[in-house]
């Protein structure tokens, strides 16, 4: 039920937006993320974007993960 998946905002229409993921498009509600811009990735849950995904943090996390894995080799 906490299903939240990352989708990319294609087009903003007021409080709503057209979002897409791998060719699947869906209309979503942006009331909780007024700062979201077209091109941003947001976390989608039950029809609402609940957070803008922080790309920089995602990269940092992946980097740390790779470093931990490398140290094990």
């Amino acid at each position: 039920m906490c299903l939240g998946i990352p989708v990319r905002i294609k087009k903003i229409m007021g409080e709503k937006a057209l979002a897409e993921s791998d060719g699947i498009q869906k209309e979503i509600n942006l009331v909780f993320v007024p700062e979201a811009r077209e091109g941003d990735y947001v976390l989608l849950h039950a029809g609402f974007a609940i957070q803008v995904i922080n790309e920089e943090e995602a990269m940092k996390t992946l980097k740390i993960l790779r470093e931990i894995a490398e140290a094990e080799k």
Partner: protein, 335 residues
């Protein structure tokens, strides 16, 4: 249990239990008890014929990549093919709701005819019923079919043996996602087309090596996971499947993510799993991939003699867990 629930028609455990406890018990004969996609019967002449039946209640009636007419022919053609038979004759019965548009009926009829021609089968007899408005939803169909099984072909869900390779003919989940996307209120826009297609020609090609092919099954309702489990139970064997090798389109994965579905349980109408003897796996895979229906085929795992009756999945991250049959329902009226 007092009443039939939607889960009883979903293709998973509930349906299996109902079939075993009510129908196998009542009818009880060797051909039925094998519970393959169709029945293979040896005639007194020595020749083997196969017969199969299936009903179609798909909603919506017209969907991206197909319609109930095409589905009705493919479904039975494919069930016969999964018995190792060459499909020859199909019956077509229709139950139509009062008020159904004649133009839609014509569209469905033409589509069924086109599909039959594509498969090289003949629709030789049928039936037509009309019921008052509200007593069925638009149109329900049933097709039955007869085919012949060549000498040397022995294909059954109970034939899988340790060491055999599990080959999947292509992408999982296209049909169910395509049908869903046609439903009112479904607000994902997807361009996925149903994979609904006749498989008899590609199956005949791999049956040119009859000694190689142990089992054929098409993963319809209940999905690949259910199909593989059925084979394991019938054959009293286990399976090991590598999740990373199972082809799923990224758009289907995304749709699953948005809807909370699992690609392993999605219905397909133009794909099959083939259990083949290991030494022939490479050749069979090449034969399948050479056909348009099998371009994306892959070896996804193997049959083992441990954890009999169960399928173990090696997950994407390297862990292991059991891949069970569908329990309950994912969504109704997919086929």
């Amino acid at each position: 249990m007092e009443r039939i629930l939607l889960g009883h028609g979903a293709g998973g455990k509930m349906m299996h239990n109902l079939i075993k406890e009510m129908f196998v018990k009542a009818f009880n004969n060797p051909a039925l008890n094998r519970l393959d996609d169709g029945a293979v019967i040896r005639m007194s002449s020595g020749e083997r014929i196969a017969c199969s039946t299936d009903s179609y209640v798909v909603d919506p009636v017209f969907f991206r990549g197909g319609d109930i007419g095409r589905l009705s022919v493919c479904g039975t053609v494919n069930d016969l093919s999964m018995c190792g038979a060459r499909p020859l004759f199909i019956t077509l019965a229709l139950i139509i709701e009062e008020g159904f548009p004649v133009s839609d009926l014509e569209r469905i009829s033409l589509s069924a005819a086109k599909t039959a021609a594509e498969a090289g089968v003949k629709v030789v007899t049928g039936d037509l019923k009309v019921v008052p408005k509200g007593k069925v939803d638009k149109i329900f169909t049933n097709t039955s079919g007869i085919g012949t099984v060549k000498k040397g072909v022995d294909v059954s869900g109970s034939n899988a043996g340790p060491g055999d390779s599990v080959i999947l003919s292509g992408f999982m989940g296209d049909h169910e996602i395509a049908v869903l996307s046609g439903r009112a209120g479904f607000d994902l826009s997807v361009k996925i087309k149903s994979d609904c297609q006749p498989l008899n020609k590609i199956v005949q090609k791999i049956l040119c090596l009859p000694e190689a092919v142990r089992c054929l099954r098409d993963p319809t309702r209940g999905g690949l996971a259910t199909t593989l489990n059925e084979i394991c139970v019938s054959s009293n064997a286990g399976m090991e499947i590598d999740e990373a090798l199972v082809p799923v389109r990224s758009a289907v994965r995304s749709a699953c993510g948005m809807l909370g579905f699992d690609p392993f349980y999605l219905a397909n109408e133009g794909k099959f799993a083939a259990i083949v003897k290991e030494k022939y796996a490479g050749r069979i895979l090449r034969i399948i991939r050479a056909e348009k229906e099998g371009r994306d085929a892959a070896v996804i795992g193997r049959v083992v003699n441990t954890h009999r009756g169960e399928v173990i999945l090696r997950t994407r991250s390297g862990g292991r867990r059991i891949l069970g049959m569908l329990a309950g329902e994912q969504l109704p009226r997919i086929c």
